[in-house]
Amino acid sequence: MEHIRTPKVEQVKLLDRFSNKSVIGTLHLTATHLIFVESNSTSAQEIWILHHHIASVEKLSLTTSGCPLLIQCRNFRLVHFVIPRERDCHDIYSSLLRLLRPVSYDELYAFSYNPKQNDQQREEGWQLIDLAAEFERMGVPCDQWQLTDVNREYKVCETYPRDLYVPITASKPIIVGSSKFRSKGRFPVLTYFYQEKKAAVCRCSQPLSGFSARCLEDEHMLQAISKSNHNSRYIYVMDTRPKLNALANRAAGKGYENEDNYSNIRFQFVGIENIHVMRGSLQKLLEVVGTRSLSMTDYLVGLENSGWLRHIKAIMDAAIFLAKAVTVEGASVLVHCSDGWDRTAQVCALGSLLMDPYYRTIKGFMVLIEKDWISFGHKFADRCDQLDPDPKEVSPIFTQFLECVWQLTEQFPQAFEFSEWFLIQIHEHVHSCQFGNFLGNSQRQREVLQLKERTYSLWAHLLSEKQNYLNPVYSPSFAESHPVLEPSTQACHFKFWRNMYHQYDRSMHPRQSILKQVLTFKESNRELEGTVQALKTKLQKFGVSTSPLKEDAPASTDGERTVEGSSATENGYGELTGSFGSKNEPAVVTLEFGVARMTC
C-alpha cells in the first residue's frame, strides 16, 4: 500500500486502440488492481486490470490534452489512458512500476486472494486433480512399469515431481547413472501410457554426450523402455529441436543420442525453435495485429513474417508424429529437447491429447496440464515473468500449447468438451498469479512456498463456473468413433486466433455469437428437462402415473397429450418461459466480454 501515492484520478480519457473513440472516467489504483470506471452512467463500463497482468507501462510525452499512459498486458490487452495532469500521471506510473515488480512470492496476489471459502473447501479444491489416479487410469503401475521412490526427496532431480514411473527393469543405479548423464538430471520417465498397444511416451532432457561421451546406464535405461513394449522392436527418440541447435549443444558437452551407441532406437529431429525465437515471433505478431488501419496485405505479410503460425504448425507436426508412432506403429517414444521442460512439454501434452479423448474433456484437460506442465517443471515463474524478471527467460511456450489446442478445436468442433473460452481463461490465470497452481518453477518450489496451504486452486474455481466453458456441440460419441484425432496439417488450417490476441478489442469480434446462443438453448433444454422431471415426480406424488405412458406405450401419444395438457404441466411451462430469460442471460453475457474480469 505504501507504494500508492495517488489512489484516484478523475477525468481520465481512455482511448480505443483501433479507432478515434474515447471515453472519460475515473482511474483507481488499489493494491492489486488498476480500475477504470467510465463516468457515463448509462453504460458505465468498468475495466479491471490486475497488476500481475501488466507487462509494461510507458509514459509518453505530454500532449495538449494531457499525459498519455500506455499499459500493455500479458493477456494481450492494451490500454491507452490520457491523464489530465502530468503529476498524477507520474504518480500512477511510478506506483505501477513498483507494484508490477513484486520482489518476493509473498507479494503475489494468490497469497492475499480470498474467495470466502473455508479451509476444507480449499483443500478439496487442491485434491480435485490426483496424478496417481491419473496414472492408474492409464493402467500404470503394471507388469512393465512401476512407481519409483528414487526422487522422493528431490535428490536425483529437483525439477521433477516426487512420484515418477519407470520400467520395472530399470534399477536404482541405472536411474541415478542415467540422470547424471542428462541435463539437469532429467532422466527418462513415463508421462503417458497407451494401454491398447502397451506403448509408452517418455520424456527427459538432452544427454550430456558432447562429441563422443557415452553412458552405459543411460543406454540401459533406453533399452529398458524399449523392452517394456513387446509390440515394437525399436523406440523412437524425438529430439524436438532443429538439428543445428542440437549440434551446437554438442560443443557445450551436451547434444543428442548417437544411434550407434543405443540399440534399437530410431532417432528423429523435429525442428521446433527455441524460447528466444518464439518470444521474438510473438512480439512481431503483436506488432502487426496492433497496427491501426491495417490493410489486408500488410496483415497477411506480417502474419507470415512473424513466423508464428509456422511455429504452431511445427509443434502440431511433432505431436502428430508422436501420436502416429504410438497409435499406429505401437512403438514407444522418448521425447526431449534441451532441458525437457518447454518443447518436450508441448509435444508430450499435445500428443497425449491427440491420443486420448479423456484429455479433451474439461477435467481431463486440467489433469493434462497438471501432469505435463506443472508437475514436470515447466518454469511458469520464469516463462510468464511472475517474479524477479529475466527478460531472456520469458517465452510464450504455454500460450503456444493452448493455441495448438484451439487450432484442433477449430478442426474438430465436436471433439472437445470445452470451448475456446476455457483455454483463454486458463491463459488469463497463468499470468494472473491469483491462484497457486502456476506459481513457481517446480513442484519442489511449490512445496516450499506451501501453496496448498496458503493459496487456492484454479481448477476448483474453473469447475465452479464450468457452464461458461462448455462446448455446446461436444459429442462424446464423436470421441468414441475418433479416439485418436488425425488433424490435417495443411497450412490453410492454421488460423490466427483472434479471440486470444484481440480478446479486449471489442470492435474486432463477431457481434453475435453462435456459441453463446447454442449454449443458452442447450442450457434451457436441460432446465426444461429438469422441470419436466420434477413435475413428473410431483404428479407421481399425487398418484398420477406418467411413466407407463412415456415408456411402455410410445404409440399412444394421445395419452401423453393428456398428461401435458393437464394444468400442472402447463403452469410449469408458463413459469419457465417467464423466468428463463432473466435467469440465463447475465451468465451468458459475461461469457464473452466479462470473461477476464477478476473476481476479487
Binding site: L300, E304, L309, P413, R511, Q512
Partner: protein, 565 residues
C-alpha cells in the same frame, strides 16, 4: 450440328472413379448431351454420380499405351475433371480410344455457347410445370411494396423495348419530376445507357441508393443538363448527396481519355464524390484462380500458404467490398444522405456494393425470400452479365475473355457478414454454397444470359424453370434455413479489420474432410435448436433481441474515413 454428334463413345465399362477422401469406385461411365453419369454397378443400392457437363471447367487427360500388348489389355487413360464448384475427380478409363473420345466429347459439350442448347431448356422434372410464375419480384412490385416511394418517385417504362439501355430491365424507378425524355438524354450521357436509377429506399429515413454507369464527360468535360437535373431531383432540396465512385481518383481521371469520366464538382454542386478503388475484371478472376490453386496444394508450408493467400488478393477484394458497402451504409443510415454508386460500366462492382449495403441496412433482405429478391433485382434484372462473367471458373485453361467472379465475391462477403452476425440472416451458408454452384452450372434458367433483353429473346421464362421459385418450396427451403435466426431491425455493420475477415473455408475447402466435421457440428447445432423449440413451445421468448441492440454498433473505421474527405 446435333449435340449427340459430339458423342463418339457413350458408354464405358470398368471405369475407376477417384474422389478426394473417398475410396475409389469401379463402375460404368456414360456421356449424354448434358451430363456425365457414373454408376457403381456392384452394389444393389447402386451409387450414382451425375455431373452437368457445364459444371466442368477443365479436363486433363493422360494416356498410357504399353507397346506390344493388345489394345484391350494394355492401354488405358486417365481423365482429370476439374469442376466449377471446385470438385476434382479422376476417371481411369480402359482403352485409349475410349478415353480420348470421352475427353473430346466432354470438351465440346461443356463449352456450348448457344443458350438454347443449354440444359435448362431440356430440364423437365415431373414436379415442376413450366406455366408457373417465373421469378419472385419485379421493379413494379418493389415500387408497390415501398410506400415511401409513392410520393416522389415513379416507375418509368421508357426502356420497355430495351432501346434506351440494353442491359436495364424494361421498368426502372426514377424521380417523379424527371420525364422520360430527360431519362433518354441522361442515358446517352452514361456508358451503356445506364442512367441513374433507384436501387434501394431506406425504410427509416427515405434516403435512397442509386446506381448507374460512369458519365461520358470525356476529355472536353462535356456535361449533360438532364443528367444533372436527374441527380438534383434525387436529393430534392436536401443539401447533400454522396457519389461513391468505385475507382481511384486517378483511374477516374484516366477514364476521361477514353470518353468516360466522373461527375465534376462544378456541375453537380450538391453531390460529394468519394473515390474507393476496386479491382475488376481479369484481376479478380486471376485472384480466384490463384486462391484456388493455393488451396488445392496440401504441401505448402505455412509461410508459403500465407504468401500465396496474400498474393491472390482475394481477401483484399472482400475487404474493400465490405468497407465500401459499409461506407454507403454510413452515408445513408448515419448521415442521412442519399448515395449514387457507380464504377465504369455499372454492372459489376456497382451491384456488389449496392446489394451488400442493402443487406447491411435492410432487415427485409436478410430473409431467404428477401435475399433472393435482392439478387433478382440487383443482379439478374439489373443486368449483371452472368453468361460472360461465369463462362469459366478457377481451373479453366481457356484464354480469359470477360470472366470475373464478382458474384462469388458477393457470396463471400455475405458469408463474412453471416460469420459476424450468425443470428441476423434467415438463410444459412448452405444457400450461399448452392448459389455459388448454380451460378456456374444449373438446371434452371435463372442465371442464363447477360440481360433481361437477352433472356426475353431466348425465351428463358417460357422454356426453363426458375431457380428461386424452386428454392422457396417449403421442403427445399428448410435445408437453407439458419436455425439460429432472430430477426433484428438494426443495421448490421460488419467489422472490416483484416483480423475479422476469414477465408471462406466452406467454399474453398469444400471437398475436404474438414468440411465434413463442420457439417456434423452444424447438424448438432440444428438438433439442439430443434429440441429447444420443441420444448419451449411455439411462444419461445425473443428476449435475447434486446441484448443484441447494444452490440450491433457500427465499426469505427468508417468514421475516420468520412471525416478525412
Amino acid at each position: 450440328m446435333e449435340l449427340s454428334e459430339h458423342i463418339k463413345t457413350a458408354n464405358v465399362e470398368d471405369v475407376t472413379l477417384r474422389r478426394p477422401f473417398h475410396p475409389a469406385l469401379r463402375g460404368t461411365l456414360c456421356v449424354t448431351s448434358h451430363h456425365l453419369l457414373f454408376s457403381d454397378r456392384k452394389d444393389e443400392a447402386s451409387w450414382q454420380l451425375l455431373i452437368l457437363l457445364k459444371n466442368i471447367d477443365a479436363i486433363e487427360k493422360s494416356v498410357e499405351n504399353l507397346f506390344g500388348y493388345p489394345r484391350a489389355m494394355g492401354s488405358s487413360g486417365t481423365i482429370t475433371i476439374k469442376c466449377k464448384d471446385l470438385l476434382v475427380l479422376q476417371l481411369e478409363i480402359p482403352g485409349m480410344e475410349e478415353c480420348l473420345n470421352i475427353a473430346s466429347s466432354i470438351e465440346a459439350l461443356s463449352s456450348l455457347e448457344s443458350v438454347t442448347e443449354m440444359y435448362p431448356f431440356f430440364y423437365r422434372p415431373s414436379h415442376l410445370t413450366l406455366n408457373g410464375p417465373w421469378g419472385l419480384s419485379s421493379t413494379e412490385q418493389y415500387y408497390k411494396q415501398t410506400e415511401r416511394l409513392w410520393d416522389r418517385w415513379r416507375v418509368s417504362t421508357v426502356n420497355s423495348d430495351y432501346s434506351v439501355c440494353p442491359s436495364y430491365p424494361s421498368a426502372v424507378i426514377v424521380p417523379r419530376e424527371v420525364d422520360d425524355d430527360k431519362l433518354i438524354r441522361s442515358a446517352r450521357f452514361r456508358q451503356g445507357g445506364r442512367f441513374p436509377v433507384l436501387s434501394y429506399c431506406h425504410h427509416r429515413n427515405g434516403m435512397v441508393i442509386m446506381r448507374s454507369s460512369q458519365p461520358l464527360t470525356g476529355a472536353n468535360k462535356k456535361r449533360c443538363k438532364e443528367d444533372e437535373l436527374l441527380l438534383q431531383a434525387v436529393i430534392d432540396g436536401s443539401e447533400l448527396g454522396y457519389i461513391i465512385d468505385l475507382r481511384s481518383a486517378q483511374q477516374a481521371q484516366q477514364a476521361r481519355m477514353t470518353g468516360g469520366g466522373f461527375e465534376s464538382k462544378s456541375f453537380y454542386s450538391h453531390w460529394k464524390r468519394i473515390h474507393r478503388h476496386h479491382e475488376r475484371g481479369k484481376i479478380v478472376q486471376e485472384s480466384l484462380i490463384k486462391l484456388v490453386e493455393a488451396c488445392s496444394d496440401p504441401s505448402h508450408s505455412v509461410d508459403r500458404w500465407l504468401s500465396k493467400l496474400e498474393n491472390s488478393k482475394w481477401l483484399s477484394h472482400v475487404h474493400s467490398a465490405l468497407s465500401t458497402a459499409g461506407l454507403v451504409v454510413e452515408c445513408v443510415e448515419r448521415d442521412g444522405h442519399s448515395v449514387l454508386v457507380h464504377g465504369s460500366e455499372g454492372t459489376d462492382n456497382t451491384l456488389l456494393v449496392s446489394s451488400l449495403a442493402q443487406l447491411i441496412l435492410d432487415p427485409a433482405s436478410r430473409t431467404v425470400t428477401g435475399f433472393l429478391c435482392l439478387l433478382e433485382r440487383e443482379w439478374i434484372q439489373a443486368g449483371h452479365p452472368f453468361q460472360q462473367r461465369c463462362a469459366h471458373s478457377a481451373y479453366s485453361h481457356a484464354r480469359l475473355k470477360q470472366e470475373c467472379p464478382i458474384f462469388l465475391l458477393l457470396l463471400d462477403c455475405v458469408w463474412q457478414v453471416w460469420r459476424q452476425f450468425p443470428l441476423a440472416l434467415e438463410f444459412s451458408e448452405a444457400l450461399l454454397l448452392r448459389l455459388a454452384q448454380e451460378v456456374y452450372a444449373s438446371n434452371y434458367g435463372t442465371f442464363l444470359c447477360n440481360s433481361e433483353q437477352e433472356r426475353c429473346a431466348a425465351g428463358v421464362k417460357e422454356n426453363t424453370h426458375c431457380l428461386f421459385q424452386s428454392l422457396l418450396r417449403p421442403d427445399i427451403e428448410e435445408q437453407y434455413l439458419n436455425p439460429l435466426y432472430e430477426p433484428t431491425d438494426l443495421a448490421i455493420w460488419p467489422s472490416v479489420h483484416p483480423q475479422s475477415l476469414q477465408l471462406w473455408t466452406g467454399l474453398f475447402l469444400r471437398w475436404t474432410e474438414y468440411a465434413q466435421n463442420m457439417e456434423e457440428a452444424r447438424e448438432e447445432v440444428w438438433s439442439i435448436v430443434k429440441e429447444h423449440h420443441e420444448q419451449a413451445g411455439p411462444d419461445r421468448t425473443n428476449n435475447t433481441l434486446s441484448t443484441h441492440c447494444d452490440t450491433l454498433t457500427p465499426f469505427e473505421n468508417l468514421m475516420d474515413e468520412l471525416t478525412i474527405l
